[in-house]
């Protein structure tokens, strides 16, 4: 029952995140989606991933969104799409149906259980390459944050430059 309620909540939040006109409201609905996805991950038996998703997805990413929206300013987001609305509906519904046909009949089998190492052993022992890749990604993220922050500094520094030199 809780799974079903969470599912409905996730989908409602996601649809509202797309539908809402104001960007800041959209970011807040996205944070709600993240929080509910974290709850669903917890219910699925992955509490570590749930906590990380809650802190990163609902916390950090929302802060980044609010910061970026502050920098760019709120714009009316009711522009018409680049492709026609009915075509977009048909394509997305078709892809959903195809995916559903592919996935739904196959998921009710019993889980085979292998003897498996712990999360720590799998993450740090078996997948070192991914950890290296994550380090590289975090470096890219730092550069991205510098891009976000540097924008404000350069915008603020240009008018203030003459005052500094005086």
């Amino acid at each position: 029952m809780l799974h079903l309620l969470t599912a409905v909540g996730i989908l409602v939040c996601a649809i509202q995140a797309i539908r809402s006109r104001r960007l800041i409201v959209s970011a807040l609905w996205l944070a709600g989606t993240s929080a509910l996805v974290a709850l669903e991950l917890y219910l699925l038996g992955a509490p570590e991933i749930g906590v990380i998703e809650l802190s990163v997805g609902a916390g950090l990413v929302t802060v980044l969104f609010v910061f970026a929206i502050n920098l760019t300013g709120e714009e009316a987001a009711d522009l018409k799409g680049l492709i026609k609305e009915p075509l977009a509906v048909v394509v997305s519904v078709l892809s959903i149906v195809l995916l559903g046909i592919l996935l739904v009949p196959g998921v009710d089998r019993a889980a085979p259980s292998f003897g498996e190492a712990s999360l720590k052993a799998v993450l740090w022992g078996n997948r070192q390459l991914d950890v290296i890749l994550q380090a590289a990604l975090v470096f890219c993220g730092v550069l991205g944050v510098l891009g976000l922050l540097g924008e404000r500094e350069s915008a603020a520094a240009e008018p203030g430059h003459s005052e500094d030199s005086e």
Binding site: H3, L4, T6, A7, I10, L11, A14, I15, A17, I18, L23, S26, L30, S34, V37, E40, L41, L44, A46, I52, E53, G57, V61, L64, F65, F67, A68, I69, L71, T72, E75, L79, G81, L82, A88, V89, V91, S92, V93, I96, L99, L103, V104, V107, D108, R109, S113, E116, S118, V122, L123, Q134, L137, V138, C140, G144, V145, G147, E151, A155
Partner: protein, 103 residues
Amino acid sequence: MNLSVPNIVILIVIGLLGVGAYALLTVRNLIKVVVALQIMVKAAMLALVLAGRLQGQENLGQSLALTVIVADTIVAVVGLALAVEVRRVVGSLDLKALTTLRR
């Protein structure tokens, strides 16, 4: 189709992917595009955890989901930084304003 836990999660995954795909096709604001990507990545993450659980390799699925969370955050950061730069250079967040070709 009964509403067992894997089926409910599959429904969430399909729904989130559908919403994200529709948004990517229709939305023109750059920040909204990043929102749509975030929604689709959340579906992928749930699917990885569910697949690990169904195959009896929960920890492998969870560690892959962790990688997805990191990659997803970096995509958001770089996308938002790009949006800020585009807004500064072009003066608008509209995707259509980015192209210099006539449509």
